[in-house]
């Protein structure tokens, strides 16, 4: 009998848990440890944040699903990994602190044969003074944040209706943020909401980003063919900004958010102040605060984790200069080199370097998007790790399954306004996620697999994905036919 412990129940953790339970006989134990009671379909938080969807529609209680499927569940925050066990207990184990109402604050520990660290990101609002719901800006990173943001937006609309001009700043709140696509989506959903409310004229919508140019999205932009021309995602994105009258500030690192004002630096080193009436700024991510100890109780956190808190896996972390980066730097198996029974799919693995070209201002401020590794890639990595564990439980010498972001594609549907008849979205596909200039010398990606278009169809696809992935997360009949 083997026990697989999964830390985190987001896209990666939940996907791995469901697949492992489907593949492994019941004599093997699958246990999920997650501080949240619910699974959150984060892409739809955008619609919650503009008041178009209730939070209950993006949240699914985990416990009933795990009870039905025979998966153990501890609503708890993992605090430490002991990959060599302890003096008294030689099996590897993980420590955690319960977060549910019944056991709140109590601690626990579980031994494991295989550990999947799918803890995702820790929202690092503290990286920028004044950033976040406890400061002076809003967020849509969680359903709870999105509900607060929607209420604030409603107040802004009321002021606009009263004839008061308002400036809405939407974007990222630090020079190293990721998920620019989500900030882009929220910008255009807000713009659409303002138009629908008949108050667009008095509103100034400003997109504030750490991208070097619009359309970068943390993946160094894309190139795709339209009407016989190879065009850039920059031109395509700028066209939408022009059409919808949205202003943009690029190459920006927010240094401080104050009441109604923020201060940012651009790549040229100059600092600027920007007043606002409403600000939704995404935070940078860091890894979950997990410590690691060897059998003697000595701290080995830096052996397992990168300084960012993300787990080191089979990637090249030698810190090569930009010109020497290659596709082979990216991980394939998501195994920890220190302890091969520990894996980290999704956001929890430490990327070897950004995908967008790294840049610093003359004052040394890093203004470069961190690489996105959410959604489809996250699910694929989780399934791949689950396949490896499934095989190794049957045969400990089994080779690891492989799925590199340099050989996998991704579909990204960025909503630009909700509505079955008047909605729109940018539907993008890219292959691969991380460019491989050696394999695809022209643009770094396969032109046939990289595309982008705007329209109502994109909204329908986003809505379809919402219902499909919620069905899948609920593990309804034949859920596994829905691909990651």
């Amino acid at each position: 009998m083997a026990r697989v412990v999964i830390l985190g129940a987001g896209i990666a953790g939940h996907t791995a848990a469901l697949h492992l339970r489907r593949w492994l006989p019941r004599k093997h134990e699958i246990v999920v440890v997650s501080p949240n009671a619910d699974w959150n379909w984060i892409p739809s938080n955008i619609w919650v944040g503009v008041g178009r969807m209730e939070a209950a529609k993006v949240l699914i209680p985990l416990r009933p699903i795990y009870n039905r499927k025979g998966i153990g569940f501890h609503q708890a925050l993992a605090t430490a990994i002991r990959p060599e066990g302890t003096g008294e207990q030689p099996a590897p184990s993980v420590d955690f602190t319960y977060t549910d109402a019944e056991h709140h604050g109590q601690t626990g520990s579980l031994t494991y044969d295989y550990l999947i660290n799918a803890t995702g990101p820790q929202l690092n609002f503290a990286a920028t003074p004044g950033l976040g719901p406890d400061g002076h800006s809003y967020s849509v990173c969680t359903a709870e944040h999105a509900v607060e943001t929607a209420a604030a937006l409603e107040k802004v609309i009321a002021k606009l209706k009263a004839g008061e001009k308002q400036r809405l700043v939407i974007g990222v709140g630090h020079g190293t943020c990721t998920c620019e696509g989500a900030a882009f989506e929220y910008t255009f959903n807000v713009e659409h909401t303002l138009r629908s409310a008949g108050v667009r004229d008095l509103a100034e919508v400003v997109y504030l980003t750490n991208e070097h140019e619009l359309g970068d999205f943390g993946v160094n932009g894309m190139q795709f063919v339209e009407k016989g021309f190879l065009q850039s995602s920059r031109m395509w994105t700028e066209s939408l900004f022009r059409e919808r009258g949205v202003k943009a500030i690029t190459q920006a690192a927010v240094h401080e958010v104050m009441e109604g004002k923020l201060r940012y630096e651009q790549l040229d080193g100059k600092e600027h102040d920007l007043d606002f009436d409403f600000a939704m700024l995404l935070p940078p991510f860091k890894g979950a605060s997990l410590a690691a100890y060897d059998r003697n109780g000595d701290d080995i956190t830096s052996t397992l984790f990168a300084p960012s808190g993300f787990l080191k896996v089979d990637a090249d972390y030698s810190g090569k200069p930009y010109d020497e980066w290659s596709a082979e730097d990216w991980p394939h198996t998501y195994e920890s080199p220190a302890y091969p029974n520990i894996f980290a799919p999704g956001i929890a693995f430490a990327p070897p370097h950004p995908i967008s070209k790294p840049r610093k201002s003359p004052t040394g401020t890093v203004i470069t998007p961190a690489p996105p590794r959410t959604g489809m890639p996250s699910g694929i990595m989780a399934r791949t790790v689950a396949e490896t564990i499934r095989d190794r439980i049957k045969n400990p010498q089994a080779a690891a399954h492989r799925a590199s972001m340099t050989t996998m594609g991704a579909a990204c549907v960025a909503s630009a306004g909700a509505g079955l008849r008047d909605g729109s979205a940018a539907a993008m596909t890219m292959f691969p996620v991380v460019p491989d200039p050696r394999k695809y010398p022209q643009t770094g990606r396969d032109i046939a697999g990289t595309s982008g278009e705007l329209g109502l169809a994109g909204h329908w696809i986003k809505l379809m994905l919402h219902y499909m992935f919620i069905y899948k997360a609920k593990a309804r009949p034949f859920w596994w036919l829905i691909p990651e």
């Binding site: 303002l194 138009r195 629908s196 409310a197 008949g198 108050v199 667009r200 004229d201 100034e204 400003v206 140019e213 619009l214 920059r234 031109m235 700028e238 066209s239 900004f241 022009r242 059409e243 919808r244 009258g245 202003k247 943009a248 500030i249 690029t250 651009q266 920007l274 489809m376 694929i380 399934r383 791949t384 399954h401 492989r402 799925a403 050989t407 996998m408 594609g409 991704a410 579909a411 008849r421 008047d422 729109s424 539907a427 596909t429 292959f431 691969p432 697999g449 595309s451 278009e453 705007l454 329209g455 109502l456 169809a457 994109g458 329908w460 696809i461 691909p483 990651e484």
Partner: protein, 67 residues
């Protein structure tokens, strides 16, 4: 049909220059879709076709790119 809440003329009359001149100039140079193009983006028949087409592209990514 004009969108509610938007002045009938293009949004280009908004002054971008007070926030980021370089990006503002780049946006001002971007292609502006015609009204016909905007109508196509919302036309149910055209978008029904695009829906099928984009789904096929996504299936291609899924088949060729899932590891």
């Amino acid at each position: 049909m004009a969108d509610p809440g938007v002045k009938d003329e293009s949004m280009d009359d908004i002054n971008y220059s007070d926030v980021d001149v370089r990006t503002a100039e780049s946006i001002a140079d971007a292609p502006l879709p015609t009204r016909a193009k905007l109508r196509m983006r919302q036309n149910l028949l055209v978008q029904g076709w695009r829906f099928a087409s984009i789904n096929l592209k996504m299936m291609r990514i899924i088949i060729h790119g899932h590891g």
